[in-house]
Symmetry: none
Subunit: 179 residues, 4 copies
Amino acid sequence: MLRTIPKAELLTITIILGIMNSYKHFKICIGLLLISLAPLHAQIANDLTHEEALKALLAAKKKAEDSQVLVNIAVVDAGANLKAFIRLDESYLGSIDVAIKKAKTSRYFNAATGDIGKLTQPGGIIYNIEHSNGGLITFPGGVPIKNKEGKIIGAIGVSGGTIEQDHEIASSGALSILK
Amino acid sequence: MLRTIPKAELLTITIILGIMNSYKHFKICIGLLLISLAPLHAQIANDLTHEEALKALLAAKKKAEDSQVLVNIAVVDAGANLKAFIRLDESYLGSIDVAIKKAKTSRYFNAATGDIGKLTQPGGIIYNIEHSNGGLITFPGGVPIKNKEGKIIGAIGVSGGTIEQDHEIASSGALSILK
Amino acid sequence: MLRTIPKAELLTITIILGIMNSYKHFKICIGLLLISLAPLHAQIANDLTHEEALKALLAAKKKAEDSQVLVNIAVVDAGANLKAFIRLDESYLGSIDVAIKKAKTSRYFNAATGDIGKLTQPGGIIYNIEHSNGGLITFPGGVPIKNKEGKIIGAIGVSGGTIEQDHEIASSGALSILK
Amino acid sequence: MLRTIPKAELLTITIILGIMNSYKHFKICIGLLLISLAPLHAQIANDLTHEEALKALLAAKKKAEDSQVLVNIAVVDAGANLKAFIRLDESYLGSIDVAIKKAKTSRYFNAATGDIGKLTQPGGIIYNIEHSNGGLITFPGGVPIKNKEGKIIGAIGVSGGTIEQDHEIASSGALSILK
């Protein structure tokens, strides 16, 4: 269960080949070098990197602290899998799961959880969809994270403050990765 | 996987020093003695002890018996973990889980479950939050347990009577530890 | 969800009818009176009462404290449903569920958990039965509770000490109700 | 569901009193100020703060990156509740839950998961304990987090590399908060 990347030798060979001007082998080696670097430094297209997840998490944390709101913050990737999380001291214990479910719900349906919630009320077109996927949360506090091309690459969920505060903190986290 | 506490010797030294009137060393030994007793007889700050949990449980049980209401009673600690429980004979089997979930819900969000329930109705700001945390119960019967400083140190949940009775029994349990 | 027992009036009528010597109605009223008293003061045959559960719990707690072992103690009734529980301060958080599962496992199969565990090892006749019933625990610490007639009326599970200590504490709890 | 802390006015009064040299009232106000700051900046005794959790997380992340191992890292608090989490790009999806369960298992039983695993093998004294608590992980990669007094205040779990790497990364995270 380990991915080791013996890239030092590859780099040496690549540079030597470059100097020797063996263009064809140089290209192959550059290709191999890029592949070998890939697991640590690249990511599939349209997915959140862990550095972006951490950036969004810390931006939301700062916003919460500046606003003196005690929250839990969860970030999920394009596959709706947990990517980053933090719980502020003294925030609600029950908000751990609510924050994670808000992030997942938002990515599951590519919408802010508050918008989904408008459709899940009694008589609504997707009434009680909360029963699916091991439990959804459909009130505000979860928002999709988009890249610069506007493509959804993950989502962020916040729980612990009022629903307005949670939504605002989540939004500031989502927007941070565009800066 | 056992914690033994060699406190007998410490107690002897403490008493001898007390008799010898060496006040300064006496104080230090008293301190050490208190620390050595801690794992069995004290608890981290702001958390319910098992003796408090038992006291709340038995006070609620007495209240239920005096009112001839057949209930299940659950007490959770500051971490929302089960600390004490009792089920009265002939009470509803379904109330075991309801009582535990009421106690957990109350501690998860630091509020009486009935107050949370006012916000979870259709159109409410946290509609359907019950789908989180493996299932919440948001009708009356769960109340936070506070210490003398007003700090929440756990919660108690009661199920089996009317919601008014459940709430009253839970409250009398929570209040008992202040006496 | 309430069982009220308006037995004061019934008692009055019963006594009056007794005095009046209306034998037939007297018998009916005695019958009604007994039924009305039943939910609080009797219990189905071969089931643990909550007073017995509490007695076993407190006897096991005393044994644990005398031995300075930090444990969780769970008592289940004849239906394998949780009847009483206590967690000593500073005992393992993971032992809450282990204690409850030991008690349930013991009653599910009417045997001490350690005896069941001898059959669940690789190659054993009930290998990996732990996967059933939402998870079983089959090492020592769970024992059946029997009444004076030797009939199993519940079980007790203990977790937190060594398996020998857990078994001993559980046994002393189970035996206490015979005294 | 919001905790606001009106500390701005208190801070002003504190500074003015300090300038006015009214030492006694100054001390009282400093005390009040500390209390008012507490919910955001302090924590109950013997529990991990979110800043400590973040420090441990980032130290483990750096260790993993330096070793070029792709892992998931989870930190839980004294109550075994999730406090911080990060998943490195391209690490195993299955390791999200394994990392969280390693951290929880370590805190549930106050031991490194690898040490617990030595007791859970066929024939071991707690064989198949993994079936409790919604699933435990008992191979290396989870270690308790201790404070400077040696008290366990949480735990960290790592999954994605070899078990030796996971354990080493978790340990470096746990040790980081002592620096």
